[in-house]
Structure formats: C-alpha cells, structure tokens
Amino acid sequence: MSYAQRGMDWVRALPKPAKIVLWVLFLVFLFALPLLNIPFITTPDSDFGGVLFTVSTYVLVALGLNIVVGYAGLLDLGYVGFYAIGAYTVGVLSSLHGSWPWLWTVPVAIGAALISGILLGAPTLRVRGDYLAIVTLGFGEIVRLTLVNSQWLNGAQGISNIPRPPGAELFEVPSLDWSSGAPVVDLSNTTTFLKFGITDQIPYYWLALSVILLVLLFDKLVKDSRVGRAWEATREDEDAAELMGVPTFRFKLLAFALGACIGGLSGALFAGKAGFISPDSFVLLLSILFIAAVVVGGAGNRWGVILGAIVVGYFPERFRDFADFRVLVFGLALMLLAIFRPQGILPPRRAVRAIEADEKLEALEEGEVRV
C-alpha cells in the first residue's frame, strides 16, 4: 500500500465533523493558493494564476475522461475532439457567427459535445476495446482536420475576440510576499474580485476551481448510484453484466456522453479564458496527455486522476527547462507505469478485489475448480 493510499485511509477514518473542518480548510487553501505565492510551488517562469488555470482544465478534462476510461473501461484516444467542439461552439456563437455572451454559449457547448459524443459512441461502442481506441483516435484527428479545412470555421487562422466570462468588480484581495523570507501581506499586489480581465488570471482559476467542485459533486453522485455500479460490472466483465440484465451498451454510451459533456465544458472554459482558439490548440498530443493524466493517477479513482492531472499539467510549467522533454518523459512514464504499476499511483479500491475475481474466473473457465 502506498503512502498516498495510507493518507487517504487516515482521512476516511476521521470522525465526520473533523472531516468537514478539514475539507473547508482545504478548500479555502485551494482558493487562496494563487495569492499565497508559496516559494518553490509557485512557478518562477510563468504567471502562477495562469498555470493554476491550466492545471485546473487538465483536472476537469481528466475527471471527464475518467468517467469514460476509468469507470466504463473504454479507452478514448480522441478526447481532445470534444474539448475542441466545446471551445469552437463558444467561438462560433460568441464571436465568429454571433455575438452571444460567453455564459449563454456554455450550455450550448456542453450540448454540442453531448450530441457529438452520442453520434460517435452509438455506432462505435460496439467494436472491440482496442479498435475503439483507434476509432476515437481517428475521430480526434477528423475533428482537428475539419477545423483546419473548414472555411466556415475560419480554417487554420482560428477564432479570435471570444468574449470573457461575465464578472463584477467588487473588492480587492491582497496577496502574500515572501521576498523577505517570511510571508508579508502585500497590499500593492492585489486581485480584483471578480474581474475577468487580460492580465490577472487568478479569477479564471477561481471559476475553474468552482466548476471542478461542481463536477466532483456530480461525479460522486453518479458513481455511487446504480449507474456507477452498472459501469463497474460492465468494465469488469461485459458478458457477465449483460447476462445479469445490465444493458451494457446503453451504460457505455451514457459514460461516453457524460465524458463528452465535461470535455465540452472544459473547452468552453478554455475558450472563455484564452479569447482566441485555433486548430493548433487541439492536437492529438493533448489527447495523449489527457490519457496520461488519467492512467498515471489511477483510472477509476477521482482523487487519483486529479493527482495525475496535476502532475501532467503542473510539472512542465514549474520546470520550464524540462518542457522540451515533457512528451518524452510522459511517454516513459506511461511505459514504466504499464509495466510496474498498471493500476496507477492511486488505484481505485475495487481494482484489488477485481483482480481476485479475475483469478477465480480464469480457474473456473479452465474447468478445474468446482464452486
């Protein structure tokens, strides 16, 4: 058992009020993180608020992809396609072919991603798992190539002048300054609550963090429901699940569609913050990094994939010298993980039980053991 897992078990064992206090403290810490300017953690080469926003999109995407890969066991290598569809829906409606405010475009973006998820999933989810990986890979590339080639979507030039999320300028929040070695409140370096501007990226991080919390809540509700159990049964043994009366195809499609929704939502957030999108923002590499986030962290465990997303999103920003090598390093990490720890850093607790069940099934299939 890893330290991370031991830590989680320790938290689980706490009494309820202590847990709630711990959670609230943790949330406050998370929201305050960009203001604290903690040495070492804060990125020296790029704006920390912006980095935290990037990490948050990775977390969001990873949570969405986790539903598909972790819960339903479907390897989706074209997840960036949904991300792109979300972002482009926002771009088209708010800037290129319309002038909707950003907020109104978000539900449409989610809807568009949902529809494309169903359109892709309905025919393809019946094919074998490894084929599905290649089909989705093809889907991601088709989306990108369509963006590049379509005049209506402005081709390779992309879409600019995407409006920002609505905000209000209510009050100033100060930040900490560590330059003297100890933290000092720095009143000259403040963030306006809640102004979505160009220079100060921190409010975007707050927005993204809030969305993550909502998605997490949703994720927990779904996972603990009948749906979550159906996914689990489907992932572990599709035939057996089908025999037990689980309509596996419908549940796989549901996972695919929900995953697509969250992908679209992440894309919409990204478009709202960046103000500019082009096909170059949606290369295949992103899909692979998303998969890396989920697999590295531990597919099926929401805390695991969040950890994975932080690793994938944060480290290249913190260690800029290493940015050139990040794909190489993630490639190596995927290989090493597959070999030494295929269940990820923080595997779901189910995985252990599932492995035992597998062994038993194998023995039964060989006809050598009677139950």
Binding site: Y131, G138, I142, D324, L334, I339
Partner: protein, 329 residues
C-alpha cells in the same frame, strides 16, 4: 468529379505507390496482431526510424542525382539495408522493452496499448530531440548534417530522377513508380513464402492459431514473437526506403499519420491476414486518392480516417477475414 476523370491514371498510379507503402507497413500490424492479439501502436515509429536510416545512409554516401548506374544501384541497396536493419532493430527493442515485461505479468491488452503509446512517444521524441540529445555528448556539431533542426522536415537528396517510362492516359508512369510498386509486391511475395514454407514461418502461424498447441509442438513462443517483430520491422524498413525514394521528406512525427493509415489498411484487408494487408494497402491508397479528388485534397486524411471508422463499424473482420488467427474464438 471532373477532376477525378481528368486525372484518373495519375491518381491511380500515385494511389498504388502509396498503397504499396501502406501495405508493407500494414504487414507489421497484421503479423504482431496475429501472434499477440494486440495493436502495436508504436509500429509507426518503427517505420519513421527506417526513413531516417535511409536518409542518413544516402547523405553519408554522398548520394546525388548524377551518379552512374552502378553508383545508384549501390546507394539504393545500401539505403534498403540500412532502413530494414534500423526498423528491424527498433521493432525488436520495442518488443523487448515495451511488450515482453507486460507479457510476463499477463497484463490485459489495454495496458499493453498504453505501454505501446508510451513507447511510441518516447521513440518519436528521441528522434525529435536528437539535436539536444547528441548535444549532451558534444556530438551535435560533428553530426550536424544528421541532427540539425531535429523538429523540422529533413529531405533526402534525390538519387534517381523520375523518368517517364510509358504513359497511361495522359499520365507518364515513371521508373520510380514502377520500382516502388513492383518492388513492394516482390517483397510481399517473399514474406508470404517465408511464413508459409520456412520452419520459423510455420512457428509464427502455429502460435497465431493456437499458442498452447504450438508450445506442445516445441515452438518457443518468445522466440517466435521476437522473430515476428523483427520481420514486421524489416517490412516497415523496406516501406520506409520506398517512401523516401518516392516522397523524399521525413520528420520525427512522420510515422503517426502513416501508421494510422497502415493500420486502416490492415483492418481493411482483415487484420492478421497477410494477403489482406496487401489488398487493404492498395485499396486504401486508391480510395484515398479518388476520394480526395472528389472532395478536395485537403480532406485526404479525413477520407482515410472515415474509411477506417466505416470498416470497423460494418465489417470489422475486413475484406478477407482474420485468417492467421481465426482458430481462437
């Protein structure tokens, strides 16, 4: 549509030359799928390394368009030897480090796919970072010709100038076209005979059809798997050499699109089926050219991807069926 009719023969011949390359690469996917039941995602990089080996050896030998016949034959021969050796080596290393450790642990196929994706990125990035990596050892200056601007396109000097040999419609078929198509078919016939007649080839078929029975007959599965990767790699190397003769440009990420297309060709013909790979390669090469003539060249890759999706949906066993490994249900 008119464009398609006006350029029918040009589209057909270029479709066949590309199709020959797809088919040779597709063999690697099909062979490995046959014995291991998994998609060797990193096979595209095996091809890419072959293109660089071809490029480097021609550059090293000072190949140019004005060589004598003997020189040209020597350059082409060396180019094929280098590309096939390089790709074969990369394929064997891939098996050793990305697949064998997983096999020893009985990992599920999706984990193997993850490992292969990882290996694919590692291989591509090593090529893309070769300037930096050689720099660590102070070799970037002496090797500048080979490693400079490692993220950009690298071009090979032309060693045979395409010369029209005969005309079909109003397209002049060149010596390069003929060499690529005929050469690729010849190599595939040799492979077919190897798998059918040689002892190791039989071992490959036996493992593909029933690994346990094969072991009972004394077939060393690890050895067969290694040979399979080697043979698939050598085929990809040959494809890479043909590709460099025809296209002449490569890059660290040149494998990806070609790999997906070759995989499409393998699935189209029926994965696990050697003749299917040949058929699938040619059909894909042609379909892609005709298709892009109708909807526009910029959609060429989309046509290929769509074809893949459509085949997987409507005929996942391909045109000729999955023959190497039909045995196991």
């Amino acid at each position: 549509m008119q464009y398609l009719f006006d350029n029918f023969w040009a589209l057909t011949i270029t479709g066949l030359t590309l199709g020959a390359v797809y088919a040779l690469v597709a063999l690697g996917y099909t062979l490995v799928y046959g014995v291991l039941r998994l998609i060797n995602f990193a096979h595209s990089e095996v091809f890419m390394y072959g293109t660089f080996a071809a490029l480097w050896v021609v550059t090293f030998l000072g190949g140019n368009a004005t060589g004598s016949i003997a020189q040209v034959i020597f350059w082409i021969a060396m180019m094929f030897v280098a590309a096939m050796a390089m790709s074969g080596l990369i394929a064997v290393l891939l098996e050793r480090f990305a697949y064998r450790p997983l096999r020893k642990r009985n990992a599920p196929p999706l984990i193997a796919l993850i490992s292969a994706i990882g290996a694919s990125f590692v291989l591509a990035e090593i090529m893309g970072l070769r300037e930096k990596i050689t720099g660590w050892f102070g070799l970037d200056t002496p090797l500048a010709t080979y490693v400079r601007n490692s993220r950009n396109n690298a071009g090979m000097p032309e060693i045979i100038t395409p010369q029209p040999v005969f005309t079909l419609g109003d397209y002049a078929v060149t010596n390069v076209d003929i060499f690529v198509i005929v050469g690729a078919i010849a190599i595939m016939i040799m492979l077919d005979q190897f798998v059918k007649r040689s002892r190791l080839g039989r071992g490959i078929r036996a493992v593909a059809q029933d690994p346990e029975s094969a072991a009972l007959m004394g077939v060393n599965r690890d050895r067969v798997i290694q040979v399979t990767f080697l043979v698939g790699g050598v085929m990809a190397g040959a494809a890479a050499a043909f590709y460099m003769l025809k296209i002449g440009i490569t890059r660290y990420d040149a494998g990806f699109i070609l790999g997906v297309k070759a995989f499409t060709a393998a699935v189209l013909g029926g994965i696990g089926n050697l003749r299917g790979a040949l058929l699938g390669g040619f059909v894909l090469g042609l379909a892609e050219n005709y298709g892009s003539a109708i909807v526009g060249t910029e959609w060429k890759d989309v046509v290929a991807f769509l074809l893949l999706v459509v085949i997987l949906l409507f005929r996942p066993t391909g045109l000729l069926g999955e023959s190497l490994g039909k045995a196991r249900a």
